[in-house]
């Protein structure tokens, strides 16, 4: 199985964390991310390393995050309308990829894009919430309550833990 990317959205519909495990496209002018060193693409405060392409990439990925949120939000509402208010949207699959969704009681949304052969990743997202989010973000005394622009989420332990966890899955 292959994990392509991972997103966290807060209850204000803002993307507070995103990460991609995709290698940069070989013959493209706009690269996405260096494969080994990864950094959240979302926060606008992040100093751009390569002035033009990095800004462009950030814009692209932020647009992508918005699209993903819109999709997930619409589908979740659709599912709740049809399946009852206790129903939960789990995943959808296209011919190219599969999107997994997990929502906590506090409306925190975890989204993961993987290849199509992957089975349900709901428990994996739940694990990320319990073992990484709660441990390293919620229990961090320096972390703010609201994660505006990804503040408090981009800490070393969380990022390291997430990267190790996901690479362990692959």
């Amino acid at each position: 199985m292959v994990v392509y990317s991972f997103y966290i959205f807060d209850r204000h519909t803002e993307c507070i964390y995103s990460k991609s495990w995709l290698p940069p496209p070989a013959a493209s002018s706009t690269d996405i991310l260096p494969p080994t060193h990864s950094h959240p693409q979302q926060p606008p405060q992040q100093p751009p390393q390569q002035p033009t392409s990095s800004i462009l990439t950030q814009k692209q990925s932020s647009d992508n995050a918005k699209l993903i949120f819109g999709t997930v939000f619409s589908l979740r509402n659709m599912v709740r309308k049809l399946g009852g208010s206790d129903d939960a949207f789990i995943s959808y699959r296209t011919a190219q990829y599969k999107l997994h969704y997990y929502e906590t009681a506090s409306n925190l949304r975890f989204v993961m894009l993987t290849d199509v052969a992957t089975l349900s990743m709901r428990n994996v997202l739940h694990q990320i919430y319990i073992n990484l989010w709660v441990e390293y973000v919620v229990k961090n005394p320096l972390s703010p309550v609201e994660h505006k622009g990804g503040e408090g989420v981009r800490n070393e332990l969380f990022e390291l833990g997430l990267d190790q966890f996901v690479r362990g899955l692959m």
């Binding site: 392509y4 496209p25 819109g70 309308k81 959808y92 296209t94 190219q96």
Partner: protein, 183 residues
Amino acid sequence: MSLPPCVSLITHPPIHYCRHTNITFPRTVFALIIINKAGGLIYNRTFHEGGLNKISTNDYLVLAGTFHGVHAITARLSPIPTPGANRNSASSAGTMTRPEPPSGLEVLESENFRLQCFTTLTGIKFLLFTDTTQTNVDLTMRRVYEMYTDYVMKNPFYQLEMPVRCDMFDRKLLSYIREINNR
């Protein structure tokens, strides 16, 4: 699945059992929705009460429109760079290597139901809502599409892109789905 497609469609093997226990699963199809290429609802029928919440026709129209939009977005969200994105090589190779266009949402899973979407080449979407345990909906979908082509498209009074009001289609569909649901 070893049968050629035409044979499997005609004979249509009705047995869907678990290979390990040989117990037949209750296969339940909740509803069918057909959306035309503009995102309008042209057919909507519920087969099994209690599977899905009852929502008004207006809500179904909204749902069809929403799904149409989401379907278009999901096709664009593909994280894998398609070979077609590399325009230089694509143009030099000609039309022979034109890649498959990215497909939109095909299967959606929730805790209470499963939604299978089939898009025809002409852009009409068939949405089948089934039980979560259903896995081989492709066959049902094919049969439904076949019925659509037979009893809707061949109906001389049917106008394209307009709501489907064909008695024959209704009857055949209903008896086919009932057969599945009562199995």
